[in-house]
Amino acid sequence: MSGRVLVGVKRVIDYAVKIRVKPDNSGVVTDGVKHSMNPFCEIAVEEAVKLKEKKLIKEVVAVSCGPQQSQETIRTALAMGADRGIHVEVAGKDYETLGPLQVSKIMAALAKKEEAQLVILGKQAIDDDCNQTGQMTAALLDWPQGTFASEVSLDGDKVKVVREIDGGLETIKISTPAVLTADLRLNTPRYATLPNIMKAKKKKIANVKPADLGVDLTSRLEVLRVDEPPQRQAGVKVETVEDLVGKLKETGRI
């Protein structure tokens, strides 16, 4: 086993920022807005670094697809303990239409090239909430997948994954190489330590173009319109339970 883990990290608008829709409804305002690493990607990086600290794997490679600024996101992963980074350059129009299908093709190509033992991704990104990249990557590679992981245990060439599902928790055992996606309760990501921030400066980030990996970035999706959620309407106070039932029937709720 190569002992190499690929971790995907996505640069998204920071979770604390108040999102504003562009006046032409073509998307959201991103210029001058604070961006940071997708929180689920942070959890994925933390899990990979923990596996390395337990000496169960040998190398953590952080991958990000996007414009120049994605390198900052890779550097944050390096400061958390990843060993090296790969920046897949996607800019301009290609970046605007970049989605899970293209990213999973890129991740699959890199996983093969790097002979990865595991690919760990966040379960979804907080900007598009697609929750597809992990599953698509596994399918393209024909690898097993452990998604919505709240617990991961690596044992030789097998991985035990406890998954958070609607009904509760499901435990599965899959063989490596495999794709895992991190859910909220998998771990609590560490704050980068200052010595690691200094060391991150010296770690390498390789530059790769999607074409080099044989990936076609054409999107099959077209965003027609982006709107704000509807404004919350005021409620109505009623006096009795009968009134309440009446009102609910009136508005067709029951």
Binding site: E72, T76, T193, I197
Partner: protein, 405 residues
């Protein structure tokens, strides 16, 4: 030949000036990541509890441990001794971000870094560094600095605490006042007179573990601000320590104290910047949300002028702080700039927190908003580690030296 040397020297100065200038305008990459990391920590772990820490006067032990794990409690200390091995520019950036979350936590960090570890790192023997610095890098233990006395603060040369040698021990007697971290510290750097006839040249520095026989701590002061950090007297009554606990040469105490405070000023400037920025953030956010006369109050010129003046005060103090830090990191003289930074930043903190309350109106006066805490926290920055009056004397002294023919 001489002209060539002069020209090359001038070019060198110009280039190093350019490098510093670029650093002033934009922090280097590592420092930007550091700033973001500290800001995230302050936003998530300090800001939510700052009001509670202040109200209940609780020392943030868990947070200090976490900051220690990150390397923030010993930023300048080399990695071999357990520190983060970073420069003073990084330290001043970290201080600002931490203090923006909680000013009390900021002062605990500052005292440990600049006032306790600082002099030991500079003047201690290798053995002293291992014994007195390494355990204090993780956040598990913090140190303190005992210079002021009930009888003298600004008049540091008049230290009445005495140290006499008895065989293979030093015996200390006296009282030290206003010691930050007092009740939470595990060691202190103490200044005492070893030779009264030599006046300020007869003061020496000592290292004392806490607790220790002969050392007792006075009652916790009930302060206006930075209440999560404990402040009290240290009383020394025939306190006996080994001879090896003297820090630096005999009689060098005053020099050690002054040089330590020079660097400490940059840390406190960082703390004051954090408080000023937090006050500005509070006011600007309120200006967007509060409506009066039919529009957000941010549309009114009176409010805009206040916010603009606050922003200028903070940014100019920040650049002074970064400059002082860069000069120190380049091993150039920085006494004047450090005093200017501390003066500017502390006055910016009191100005901004005062104006922030004004912008918030009645809401600024109640504990529901953090503005009143920033106002109370800011006040001390103009007093400790050298009052604003002392800073002016230091600046004038350095300035006049430059003009001497």
């Amino acid at each position: 030949m001489a002209a060539l040397f002069k020209a090359r020297k001038a070019l060198g100065l110009c280039l190093s000036g350019c490098r510093s200038l670029t650093q002033l305008a934009e922090l280097p990459d590592t420092h930007q990541i550091l700033r973001q990391t500290c800001r995230d920590y302050a936003d998530r772990e300090l800001m939510p509890i700052a009001a509670k820490l202040d109200k209940e006067h609780v020392f943030p032990a868990k947070q200090i441990n976490e900051l220690g794990a990150m390397g923030v409690m010993a930023m300048e200390v080399p990695e071999e001794l357990g520190g983060a091995g970073m420069d003073y520019l990084a330290y001043s950036v970290a201080m600002e971000e931490i203090s923006r979350g909680c000013a009390s936590t900021g002062v605990v960090v500052s005292v440990n870094n600049s006032l306790y570890i600082g002099p030991i790192l500079k003047f201690g023997t290798e053995e002293q560094k291992k014994q007195w610095i390494t355990p204090f890098t993780t956040g598990e233990k913090v140190g303190c600095f005992a210079l002021s006395e009930p009888g003298n603060g600004s008049d540091a040369g008049a230290a009445s605490t005495l140290a006499r040698q008895e065989g293979d021990e030093w015996v200390l007697n006296g009282t030290k006042a206003w010691i930050t971290n007092c009740w939470d510290a595990s060691a202190t750097v103490v200044f005492a007179t070893t030779d009264k006839k030599l006046k300020h040249k007869g003061i020496s520095a000592f290292l004392i573990p806490m607790p220790h026989p002969g050392l007792s701590r006075g009652k916790k002061e009930d302060k206006l601000g930075i209440r999560a950090s404990s402040t009290a007297n240290i009383i020394l009554e025939d306190c006996r320590i080994p001879l090896g606990n003297m820090l630096g040469p005999r009689g060098a105490g005053f020099k050690i104290a002054m040089q330590t405070l020079d660097s400490g000023r940059i840390g406190i400037a960082g703390q004051a910047l954090g408080i000023a920025q937090a006050a500005l953030d509070c006011a600007a956010d309120y200006a967007h949300k509060r409506t009066a006369f039919g529009a957000p109050i941010g549309k009114l010129q009176a409010i805009q002028f206040k916010l603009a003046d606050m922003a200028v005060a903070v940014e100019s103090a920040r650049l002074l702080t970064w400059k002082a830090a860069i000069l120190r990191d380049s091993k150039k003289p920085f006494t004047k700039e450090a005093a200017m930074a501390k003066l500017a930043a502390s006055e910016a903190a009191t100005y901004c927190s005062h104006q922030a309350i004004q912008v918030l109106g009645g809401m600024g006066y109640v504990t529901d908003m953090p503005a009143e805490r920033h106002y109370r926290d800011a006040r001390i920055t103009e007093i400790y580690e050298g009052t604003s009056e002392i800073q002016r004397l230091v600046i004038a002294g350095q300035l006049l030296k430059e003009y001497q023919s």
